[in-house]
Amino acid sequence: MADMSYLDLLMAQQEEVSEAEGGGGGIWVVADVVNGAVAPVTLEALGAARTLAGALGAYVYGVVLGEGVADLSATLYQAGADGVRVVDHPALAQFALEPYLKVLSDLFEAEKPEVILFGATPAGQELAARLAQRIGGGLIEHVTSASLDESTRTVQGAFPIYGGEYFEVVACPEARPQFLTIEPGAFSAPFLDPYRKGEPKMLEVEPGEPAVHVVGPAGGFEPLTVPLAQAPVIVAAGRQAGDFELVKQLAARLGAQVAGDRGARDAGWIGAEQIVDVRGVTVAPQVYVAVGIRGDTFHNAAMEGARFIVAIHPDPAAPIFQVADLCLEAEPKDVLPALLEALE
């Protein structure tokens, strides 16, 4: 017990972060706020920013806009920001382009960042492109990895081409600031250090009027039904899938379409138009999860083109394991509940 409290004492020495005076430069991250919290992509961007800052010898700043968002600065410090600006104003409660744009362009004209990171969210993309054109920087969108060209202090960003067949690496060698939008899930979120704290600067602003007004909900529109052959994510069941309900839940969790092999059809789980088979539908999704499918030639030939294949089957000799990227020799009924939980 005595050790624990001594440790507590040591750990409780809080790290108070303070910015260097006479700022300018630095790597700035514009935060996305989702459901009153800092979005995961913002934390990932902060992680990327910290790595770049280390190599550049620069500071990392976060800026969060919204209404009632002052407390969110704590998360940004914990994720590694050296400084945080908070713009708390009723006109910014919901994302609107012109008010956010004005606030940020005024801020960045004053602060002159070297690099500005946004999350590659719909709002982040709109803002980044418009801001880059306004204040004169180059923009790389959907960045999945970044490296530094230290001699010119230039960030080299890689982004996916044709949906990820390969990655193009580009950089903005001269114009500043350099803008990047960070692809969600591409960078790892940093460790949130609870003892890292700081005092954000609250900014007074006059946001201006939005130019686009919401009229109301629009009726008569349905999300697109993508044919199975073009579905980007597919969860397919086979005879060994066990509980088909779990398969459906997995599909729902991943936003995937449900399919199966002929065994699933015979079991009455899927319709004839959902059979993945050279005699049925040939698919080429980004992700294919085969649950309890043994994987005969006719099935495998119809999904080999999937970019990433996960297979779960109890038989180690199942042919599906010859085509899958991740092979789980296990009973689906054992793995699926844990998988559903892990995906929470």
Partner: protein, 388 residues
């Protein structure tokens, strides 16, 4: 010699290919399975002007020439022989007769709606006694005042069950026979006396209407005589020559599809630890097939050029039809062999294409007749008459 397609034909092919792959290929099996004509597809083709592809723009057509028409037939033949056959009968013989020999009024009245796809055409020549022996037709047309009364019937008329305008050959003077005794008439199928007696239940091209027609005191106004009275034989020979070439183009498309399926399957299918594509026997089948296709392609488009440049082409058109139909049959046979058991099942399009391909050696002039045409022309060039 310039072997490139002109920019408008490249653009045309690209457009038709996209149409064929988006609007036709996904549902082609349905037409065969349900034995129904793809009216929706024909309507869409008409809306963008493709049902008048080779006719002049002043008559509602596209003005893309015979080359454009061959491109259309090739791209349609590549995805659905039934659709290609419907279109070929409409443009290549039905409307073509009016384009070749129609008066200005007839073109305005009939060719324009046909070119725009507002109405569909067919060509009524064949009878139960007169297939290859076309001159043996019996349908009679008798003058009565300012009209003609037609009596008789036709068999195996493609599009016959739904076309609104049919170019019908009838005997106007039995004594003169083919030379001077046959006349072409433009018949509107909603006139009294015109009847569709039955539809044939066929081995293949089940997405087409192949009808038996009956004419009972069918009154046709004199202004609907196509060309001159007694010169119908010339009209239909010229129409058939034009249609023949494009049948070769449709065969080219079908053979191309068979090649693509074969290559794709040979890449995918593994036996004895390796893809079929690595087996020399398969490689040779595909090499032979590809060579024949290239030869056919060169021939078809060279003859299309000759047509568009007003050079004599009848003999070469016969060669295109003959060779094209036989290459298509050989191609789908190879494709079936490469696909093995799977190709024999209805899950794959191979068996449908196999059934569809066979008719090309028979209709539009059997290949035997084509060979006679070719031989006759060759010997005539050397001064020998081999035909009575």
């Amino acid at each position: 010699m310039d072997f490139t397609f002109s920019p408008e034909h490249v653009a045309l092919r690209r457009m038709i290919r996209e149409f064929a792959e988006t609007e036709i290929a996904p549902i082609a099996a349905e037409f065969d399975r349900e034995h129904k004509v793809p009216h929706d597809v024909l309507r869409k083709l008409g809306q963008i002007g493709l049902l008048g592809v080779c006719f002049p723009q002043e008559y509602g057509g596209m003005g893309a020439g015979e080359a454009g028409y061959c491109i259309l037939m090739e791209e349609l033949g590549r995805v659905c022989t039934s659709t290609a056959t419907n279109v070929g009968a409409h443009i290549g013989i039905g409307a073509m007769a009016i384009h070749l020999d129609g008066s200005e009024e007839q073109k305005r009245k009939y060719l324009v709606p046909l070119a725009r796809g507002e109405k569909m055409a067919a060509f009524g020549l064949t009878e139960s006694n007169a297939g290859s022996d076309a001159a043996n037709i019996r349908t009679r047309a008798v003058r009565e005042g300012d009209s003609w009364i037609l009596d008789g019937g036709k068999v195996y008329i493609t599009n016959g069950g739904y076309a609104q305008i049919i170019t019908v050959m009838a005997v106007t003077d039995p004594a003169l026979g083919a030379r001077g005794g046959v006349t072409a008439f433009i018949v509107e199928t909603d006139w009294p006396g015109f009847k569709v007696a039955r539809e044939e239940d066929k081995m293949g091209i089940r997405g087409t209407s192949t009808a038996e027609l009956v004419f009972e005191e069918l009154r046709v106004p004199h202004e609907n005589v196509l060309g001159k009275v007694g010169e119908g034989f010339v009209t239909f020979m010229r129409s058939l020559d034009m249609g023949r070439l494009t049948l070769g183009a449709a065969g080219l498309g079908g053979a191309q599809a068979a090649l693509e399926w074969s290559v794709r399957w040979a890449k995918t299918r593994k036996q004895f630890g390796a893809e079929l594509a690595l087996k020399q026997s398969v490689q040779w089948m595909i090499a032979n097939l590809a060579t024949e296709i290239e030869a056919l392609r060169s021939m078809v488009y060279r003859v299309a050029w000759m047509v568009d440049n007003h050079q004599p082409f009848a003999q070469l058109a016969a060669m295109c039809k003959m060779y094209g139909s036989e290459v298509a049959s050989r191609a789908i046979d190879v494709a079936l062999q490469i696909h093995g058991g799977l190709g024999y099942t209805r899950d794959f399009p191979i068996e449908r294409a196999f059934r569809d391909a066979r008719i090309a050696e028979i209709f539009e002039g059997t290949n035997e007749i084509q060979r006679i045409v070719i031989a006759t022309n060759i010997f005539r060039d050397y001064g020998v008459r081999i035909r009575a």
